[in-house]
């Protein structure tokens, strides 16, 4: 199933699969969805254009993304003791074709988290910039999740959004 999943060519199915892997904590498979050069970004300001000239809640390039994923396996990741349970809703999906082998998916995304007796919800607009890979599948070049309350005080975000 997962080998097939890695070559999902339909952009909507691909995004829903990405959400599903995160909900099921299949982080190594999730990492395999990403392009060799990529970024995962949760800006701290609405409409922020560059991650390099303003603060962000999260901005990972490929190297840091790998480190982020590796940390989940460590016994002393205190902010994930106990681990979160999550469920994601991606809706209002739209495809925007880009030049060459690229395309983008825009969607409304909600991540619901339950941990340590507390419920939390992350809600916002998410944009996936995707590349069509060689085997007919898709790869994530950039994921940008702008929370509707990104400039409001946020508690620590220990999960991957």
């Amino acid at each position: 199933m997962d080998a097939a999943a890695a070559t999902i060519a339909d952009p909507f199915a691909f995004v829903l699969h990405e959400c599903d892997l995160l909900d099921r904590w299949r982080l190594q498979e999730w990492l395999s969805l990403w392009a060799e050069e990529c970024s995962y970004w949760v800006p701290a300001l609405p409409g922020q254009e560059s991650p390099h000239d303003a603060l962000s809640h999260i901005y990972d390039d490929r190297r840091l993304l790998e480190t982020r994923v590796r940390r989940f396996a460590h016994a002393m990741f205190h902010a994930q003791k106990p681990p979160s349970r999550t469920v994601r809703f991606a809706t209002n999906l739209r495809v925007v074709e880009q030049p060459g082998a690229a395309l983008s998916v825009l969607c409304s995304l909600q991540v619901a988290e339950f941990r340590n007796g507390l419920h939390r919800s992350y809600l916002g607009h998410c944009r996936y910039d995707l590349l069509r890979g060689g085997a007919g599948g898709l790869l994530i070049r950039r994921k940008r999740f702008e929370l509707i309350d990104c400039d409001a005080p946020q508690e620590g975000i220990s999960i991957i959004l």
Partner: protein, 303 residues
Amino acid sequence: MRVPRVAQYRGFWFASLAAEGPSLEEFLGPMTTSFDDMVDRSPSGTLEVAGGFSKHVYRGNWKLVLENHNDTLHPRFVHASSVAAAREQSDAVPTDGAGAVQIRQMRQNGAPAQVWEELGIWTSEWGHSFMGDYHTDKAAVALAEDDPVQVEYRRALAARVGEARAAEILAVSRFNTVVYPNLSFMSRFRQLRIIVPLAVDRTMLVTHTFRMPGAPERMFHDSIAFANVVNGTGSLVLTDDLETYERVQRGLESQGGEWVDAARGLGADAPDPSGMLRGATGTSEVHIRNQFAAWARWMTGAA
């Protein structure tokens, strides 16, 4: 709201709700040298507020973050997961620069015990403190001394102040400075946090960073990346700090113990030639004792 007194030091403005009391410079005391450190490093001699801001909150008392910022024992335990994950990371994997800055900082948090023990920790009147820098790799945030960006920066700084003064400025090795009870900043890395108590068990931090006009733009980008690792809400480092504050808060609320121990290094703190009280080792809790001394003074109205 009209505040009775406002004053500035090196362009940083402070407001006081008390009509009388020590002047700003009397209040800051030796902490003025940390503001000097932050501003003097700029080739233009000024800093620009840039990079927007981010805010985070934790479910704990405001004192917890201030006790943490100059604590040098916790990184090996609180940050163990990010230290290990960063150490295992291959540097052959692509980075646009931002990830490299963050990973470098995480690895530095795993410095050996001896590095932390040998750091200086200094305190002054009114609860203030600063600690020495533990970035032993002589890198200004992310770049090695012989990196072209660093070379260009040093040249720009020396062009304004001269080689000798530039060397003096860059030799200052300081990490966090805490201006008790609501300000904490990293002069070498141009990071500033304002601590805002929201409730007895809820605290907000507002994070700012600065651009050095006249320095290579890459250094500003590195400051942004550094802000994201030390203050970013989803940082691999900060999230474990916030979790720890919340656990401490729950522990305190449990009334499970009558005393909170802050005795590390007690009895060995000694005045240094600057007049500040210095911890005998870098892991002394002299800064926490100093904070509570200031707190008791305010709460009792003692002169």
